[in-house]
Amino acid sequence: MIEQIPPGLILIVGGLLLPLMPKEVRKVLLVVLPAAGLAHMIQLPTDHVLAYSVFDYDLTMVKVDKLSRIFGIIFHIAAFLTAIYTLHEDDPVQQVAGLTYSGGAIAAVFAGDLITLFVFWEATAITSVFLIWASRTERSYKTGMRYLVMQVGSGVLLLAGAIVYFQQTGSVDIEPWTDLGHHQMRGMFAFDSFGEASLAQLLIFFAFGIKAAFPLLHNWLQDAYPEATVGGTVWLSAFTTKLAIYALCRMYAGSDVLIPIGATMTAFPIFYAVIENDLRKVLAYSLNNQLGYMVVGVGIGTELAINGTASHAFAHILYKGLLFMGMGAVLYRAGTVKGSELGGLWRQMPYTTVFTSVGAAAISAFPLFSGFVSKSMILTAAANEQHIITFCILLFASAGVFHHSGIKIPYFAFFAHDSGKKVKEAPLNMLIAMGIAAALCIGIGIWYQPLYDLLPFDMNALHWVPYDTAHVVTQLQLLLYSAAAFVFLQKMGWYPPELKSTNVDVEWVYRKGLKDVALATGRALDVGYTTFRDELFGVAWGIVERIKRWHSPGGPLGEPWPIGAAAIAAAIMLILFLALGWL
């Protein structure tokens, strides 16, 4: 019986029922539901399948395998931690949105067919926007609209792709990887160059690409995350993009095109991260960069790379969540996360400082932190497959990550110059959530085996050891000299200061361009139609007026003629009829 409940449903249904509960019950449920969901999910056996049928389509609501399982677990953990993190606030909207959003993402992970995937894909889009709107500002409202269009846009691309695919094959099932030998996996939709891809492959590729924040499709992320609420951003950071990584991994593993795309993703956002002032936006850019590693991993598609992707996603959700929690705490207490307005908070928020620093270390992949045991797998996989340029870019980005996430975030928030702000330490629930997350970041970095056991492929068979001298030493070199560079640049005064600013990114195209074009088109169509019609009517009216004058009383046709004229008309008609006989 209990196996008939799809994972995620507990969170969705429970979340939807929350508003009916009193405040205290709500808070309890908020934390209990993810835990219950995790307990339920874990006991589902691998290869568990839950099928149903709609419209004669045989669909698969749930399909458990090792890949879906690891994402399911980390999504539950993330939901649990975020729930704790947001306990100090009582906003039913966020609570409902957060739970249903995470539930949707979990359900999507276990979807066994494209339609089910689509349903939950859209569910995450629709629910998550409320986390942005919940900031209740004009800016967040507008951001939310843009976010929603992008997210649903991803959904409709997925739907379109599913339809085209179904039309061609008569199936919507998500097929397992094909094992090509040499530990190389290939997803059902994998393709190596755009030229060879079918329409369905492309559509779904871009559907995933939007959510995974591919270059040029990425800007919704940096737009939305800094505008969400304190807790909202933490919710957001965990699910949407990682769901996309999961989906890519399942269906596009082994696609060569993903490798350059992923490599670009690792490198390109960090330039923005360096000059960005809003620290949550910095984290958003850095999140984008982390996704790049995973995309590269998916593109390589070897067992090691896929394991690397899965474990990196796992670790990433924790440390990125932790970083967003830290910045959220700062925002909550200090009222801002602008680098230009912060500094010196370490005295007032010591715990937050520590936890955030743990997150920073983890994202930078210091040895003994979680990032180290996951990211190095992807780099090694890239090296194994001789993706030399990619490897170098990843290495460059690794240094860069440390630079902006590892150093810049803690430095400008907690150290640097004293901002003079007098703030309190974060609330207890936040500290607990951050504490657990920090503990996990370190725990995974040290006792990595439980994580490795969850990975899709047997790590022992891959002969992978994260900690050997060469790995540790080279990684330390990379990171420490990055730190040295930071000091050097600061000393030289070359480091770009934190400035109040907006940095133009591709979003300019739609925030300035497309929107204006759409509105202008709409008005032109409407006004154009009206004008055209009025013009037409104007001309027609002129004619009608003339006709009317003829036909009005007093006009030649609107008034009986004098008898003489009438008689003449009769005579003319007579002639005409006579003419009939002669013609």
Binding site: Y272, G343, A383, F396, D418, A470, T474, Y481, A485, P496
Partner: protein, 88 residues
């Protein structure tokens, strides 16, 4: 660093000096780590240059310097006022 109306450094300069000194020290140690007997670089065809002595050290340093300098240049191109998008 260039300042913008902020208060005093939140960490005393002398402590910073210590910290920086320590950083330089472990930087040196890290490079020397390559001399450890257990140091067996992973061989990858085409990636031999990675295993040259101190590669990760200078690569990391240069990467960061170039990143920051490039970003600073990029800023000239992309930076706008904070309310850039809010203006109509």
């Amino acid at each position: 660093m260039s300042d913008h109306g902020h208060g005093p450094p939140s960490v005393a300069p002398e402590k910073v000096k210590v910290i920086v000194g320590f950083l330089f020290f472990i930087c040196a140690v890290a490079v020397l780590g390559e001399l450890l007997p257990s140091f067996h670089p992973h061989e990858h065809a085409g990636l031999e240059f990675v295993n040259t002595f101190g590669f990760h050290a200078w690569y990391g340093f240069l990467s960061c310097v170039l990143l920051v300098l490039a970003a600073a240049q990029m800023r000239k191109l992309v930076m706008r006022d904070e309310d850039y998008y809010d203006r109509d």
